[in-house]
């Protein structure tokens, strides 16, 4: 365990150094949500029945969760890029824990996204969004965001390691931006046709979004929704924990496969 922490930290350092040398991708993946936030908040928000400020306060937590779900894309892209490079072969021949390399990547992503989300939060505050719950609950909301980021990154790492090429991973990765559209991140599910509503409410993004809105005190929990949304904090924890429990071991196994 000690060795895993030591090796994982070394690999984490490697990823942070890479981001420092080539920040373009990281900056872009963290800037896009700001563009979406402004676009959705002021273009769509102006046409909705609810007052614009109210919609924008509803939208900011959704955008935070959608951005956390972006771990799927960055995890996949990074792992695919790495797995087609010689340096992975060197890692595999070193006497280090088999978990260290994927774990280091996932942790580095967590650090980068935590820092990278600060501008999004500042823009959200400028748009009128406020933390209306207690500081402790707000802390819980940020904790859930990080946990969900960690979970989606592991899914991404597995898909990236399994992908045939960097290009294939890039294309699949950019298709993941549709996932938040099929959830309550941008619009409430209440008005959706029955089958679509069920699908959207079982999307992990919906449970996490509802939990984050609830903990920030931005919107009430829709009690008539599917179980994970009606019990959002438990739903968010179960979804994130479940994804980690399934995908982290699969990703490690895939990495160690020979």
């Amino acid at each position: 365990m000690n060795a895993l922490a030591h090796d994982g930290t070394a690999v984490l350092g490697r990823h942070l150094q890479r981001i420092r040398h080539a920040p373009a991708i990281t900056v872009m993946t963290q800037t896009m949500p700001i563009v979406f936030l402004l676009f959705f908040g002021y273009v769509f928000g102006s046409a909705l029945a609810t007052p614009g400020e109210e919609y924008r306060a509803f939208l900011v937590p959704g955008m935070l969760v959608a951005t956390a779900a972006g771990g799927l894309m960055t995890g996949m892209f990074q792992a695919a890029q790495d797995s087609h490079r010689g340096v992975m072969d060197r890692f595999r021949t070193l006497p280090i824990s088999r978990s260290a390399v994927p774990l280091g990547q996932a942790l580095a992503d967590l650090v980068a996204s935590a820092v990278g989300t600060v501008p999004l939060i500042l823009v959200g505050l400028a748009m009128g969004w406020r933390i209306e719950g207690t500081p402790l609950r707000a802390l819980g909301a940020f904790g859930l965001l990080l946990l969900f980021r960690f979970a989606t990154t592991w899914v991404g790492i597995l898909l990236g390691l399994a992908s045939r090429s960097e290009e294939a991973a890039g294309q699949l990765g950019s298709a993941t931006f549709m996932l938040p559209l099929l959830s309550n991140a941008y619009i409430p599910t209440g008005g959706m046709p029955g089958w679509l509503r069920t699908l959207a409410e079982w999307n992990p993004i919906s449970a996490v979004t509802t939990a984050v809105r609830h903990l920030f005190g931005n919107a009430p929990v829709p009690v008539d929704a599917a179980w994970p949304v009606a019990h959002p904090v438990a739903g968010a924890l179960l979804w994130s924990g479940g994804l980690i429990a399934v995908f982290a071991p699969l990703a490690v196994r895939r990495y160690a496969r020979r």
Binding site: R14, Q17, H21, V87, R92, R258
Partner: protein, 312 residues
Amino acid sequence: MTTTYAVLSEGLRKRYGDVHALRGLDLAVPEGTVCGVLGPNGAGKTTAVRVLTTLVTPDAGSALVAGHDVVRDPAGVRKRIAVTGQYASVDGDLTGAENLRLFAKLLRAPRSRADELLERFGLTAAAGRPARTYSGGMRRRLDLAASLLVPPRVLFLDEPTTGLDPHSRNGIWDAVRELASQGTTVLLTTQYLEEADQLADDIVLIDEGRAAQRGTPAELKALVGSYAEVVVADPSSLEAAAAVLDRLTGSAPALDAGRRAVGAVTTDTTLTLPRIVRAVDAAGVHIIDASLRPPTLDEVFLRLTDRKELVA
């Protein structure tokens, strides 16, 4: 005294779909020696290295590296080896110094060891630049430096100088010689006979995933022989020159009327170019060119694999 083998493999097989990369490869590399695995592209050299360095599990056969089984105890093998690949196995996005410090940390080597190796491989000036901006030779040196952070029991070098200019190649050769002189066992794959000749104590010639021939460089060259050739001024004297070559080399000469040349293989290591020239000249043949050259890899390869087929 019994020999301890740093690498000992028996009947290694590996198939990728329809491609049989290894078809029963046997290797025995005594501790402290340099073994050159020589063969053309596609002979199975890289697959052999990947199996021996625990990157790939063989379909059949067994291999011990530094006394540990590559299939049953890969962690034991990894503690005792280092690998420098055909494709740079360093991180192009990190600087040279960052690469070595990362691997030093993972290998529990002191950070000062990384700086020491940067210095030794002439990379101090470039240490702060991303490795992807390095020349081929610099990358390969960085790669080799990463393999020496903790001196390995067995060092695997997969085509360490492919694509390098002669100057860079000599630098790598010097480093390998130094390691070997300190007792590190080295297994290197190469397409160049000269490289195996320069570095290896023993050469294993592999063809279609099997060892086709093995021996010291001198033994293999003696087995193949050198090629003696004379070019004559007058085509009508070709036959006379051929008769002399036949007598000197003991093998049937081949005539090339177009180039007015006649050549024959010789395994007689005492035969010299002046002797050939004097003998042909004494037969009254007007020579315009003559050569006695060691076999090229192509010739070694074709002849030794042919010989194998003749025996079989």
